[in-house]
Amino acid sequence: MSVTQNTAERSNFLEIRNLKKEYTAGNPILKGIDINITEPGIVAIIGPSGTGKSTLLRCINRLIDPTDGQILFDDADLCLAKGAQLRKLRRQVGMVFQEYNLVERLTVIENVLTGRLGYMSAWQAWRRKFSQEDINTAFELLDAVGLTEHAKKRADSLSGGQRQRVGIARAVMQNPRILLADEPTSSLDPKTAVEIMELLERFSAEKNIPALVNIHDVKLASRFAKRMIGMSNGIVVYDGPPEGITDEHLKQIYGGESWLV
């Protein structure tokens, strides 16, 4: 691992070059994506279902292997990383999921602590030997997401919004240099969705890191995002500030216009 840099000095956080992904040969879902993330804050990725937004995020932490291209992160090419190096890179990338993806039968606090698994041996994990520092951080994070009194409950006893808060706490627990969120609000009601976005905004500001958020709701996206990326058919069709998005762009991204009111 390279020398730890101060995030403030960092010129860019993540650079995606000509990223391509084909699930079946000759049928690309990502057709050459170029994105350069240079500033902290929320970057919203909008676009219709099936356009490759989830695939893009999962390529970044290599839950999916890209077919071609480069993902430059922390002085390494994520596309080439393997084994222990890949795991070390992964632990610096926090991910929040649409369906929360908690381990339901574990307690809330233990779910937050699983964010540290990348820093522990399996033997330590088995004996639940989390360091005192990690335990303190986990409780602080639970406090920050407002779930202190639920710490010892099982994760499956929480509501959707509460589970997503745990999901965010787990991702931040990794002490990541970037956050990825795949439709974090799609399963939630409008009020909770805003609260979740506020949390993502807050953590990305506190940690001074970017948060790439896939999101359906264009209004919600433009409210929180510093930058919007519009995707359609596997390519980036808009990349700029949320104010710059026009109805023309939205038509191009989603197709049709009857939904634009």
């Binding site: 932490n61 839950l63 795991r87 070390k88 890179l89 992964r90 632990r91 610096q92 990338v93 926090g94 991910m95 999921f97 369906e99 929360y100 993806n101 908690l102 381990v103 339901e104 039968r105 574990l106 699983t114 964010g115 540290r116 698994l117 990348g118 820093y119 522990m120 041996s121 399996a122 994990a125 088995w126 999901g167 787990r170 990794q174």
Partner: protein
């Protein structure tokens, strides 16, 4: 107003024909098997009388025989069942992991594990016991191994299926934290499989208590030996004692298993 008759049928003609073919085969098989069994009507008519005679010989139950021989044999039976089940786990867990397609993604591994799981299941525990008696001689070891080897297929298959039903979202999330393969196994798969694991193991133990009760018939230790001896000597009151002991133990095992399972889930 002209309405169009929509045409709909649950099955196509081909499906219907094949269904009738299956029914036909079932009927033929039934008739065939009745014929080949060659039921002797005299013996069948005689049966109630014979049964009454046997029960009269069993009564009164020889309770005094319990401390003499039944108790120790019963404890031995429980030991065989428990030890057998524990030894099963040593083999069944790795085979279950190998057999789960969401853990090992290799057709070779699946075939190897399936081969062992199916071999284990296709041989009855009495046959396993005969094999091990001829290797280790009569006694408890043969019984323990017979129970263990018969259970591998059962536990391994069901455990493998339980692993495949795990919510892969949680696994994906742990993978994304940079956790190692072993950590994911321990913190992602294990908590999710745990209730099924104990259900399966307890259920198998319950079956094994019953199975180990008959293993003695082929000399593999336990209450079966006592049962066999009493039968050979026509001491039906002692046979009744052994059967009663088995019955009570099976009921107790059932109660224990149900209670533990309730607490786990």
């Amino acid at each position: 107003m002209n309405t169009i008759d929509h045409h709909w049928q649950r099955f196509t003609l081909k499906q219907k024909l094949s269904r009738y073919a299956v029914y036909l085969v079932l009927v033929i098989a039934f008739v065939q098997s009745i014929q080949s069994v060659e039921v002797i009507p005299e013996f069948l008519l005689d049966a109630p009388e014979q049964m009454a005679d046997m029960f009269s010989r069993m009564w009164p139950i020889d309770f005094a025989y319990y401390p003499v021989a039944v108790h120790d044999a019963m404890v031995e039976t429980l030991n065989i069942a428990t030890l057998g089940t524990l030894i099963t786990l040593i083999f069944a867990i790795p085979l279950a992991l190998m057999n789960a397609s969401n853990i090992v993604n290799s057709a070779w591994c699946h075939w190897i594990s399936r081969f062992f799981l199916v071999s284990s299941r296709s041989v009855n525990s009495l046959v396993w016991a005969l094999l091990f008696v001829s290797i280790f001689g009569p006694g408890v070891i043969a019984g323990v191994l017979a129970i263990a080897f018969r259970s591998i297929g059962f536990v391994g298959k069901l455990l493998g299926e339980a692993i495949e039903e795990v919510n892969m979202g949680s696994i994906e999330a742990l993978k994304a934290t940079g956790a190692s393969w072993m950590s994911i196994l321990l913190k992602g798969y294990w908590p999710q499989v745990l209730p099924a694991f104990f259900s399966i193991v307890l259920f198998r133990w319950d079956i094994n208590v019953r199975e180990s009760a008959v293993l003695g018939l082929v000399g593999a230790g336990g209450i079966g030996v006592v049962l066999d001896d009493s039968m050979n000597l026509f001491q039906w009151d002692r046979v009744a004692m052994s059967l009663l002991a088995i019955f009570v133990i099976v009921i107790l095992a059932e109660i224990v298993v149900v209670n533990i399972r309730k607490r786990l889930i």
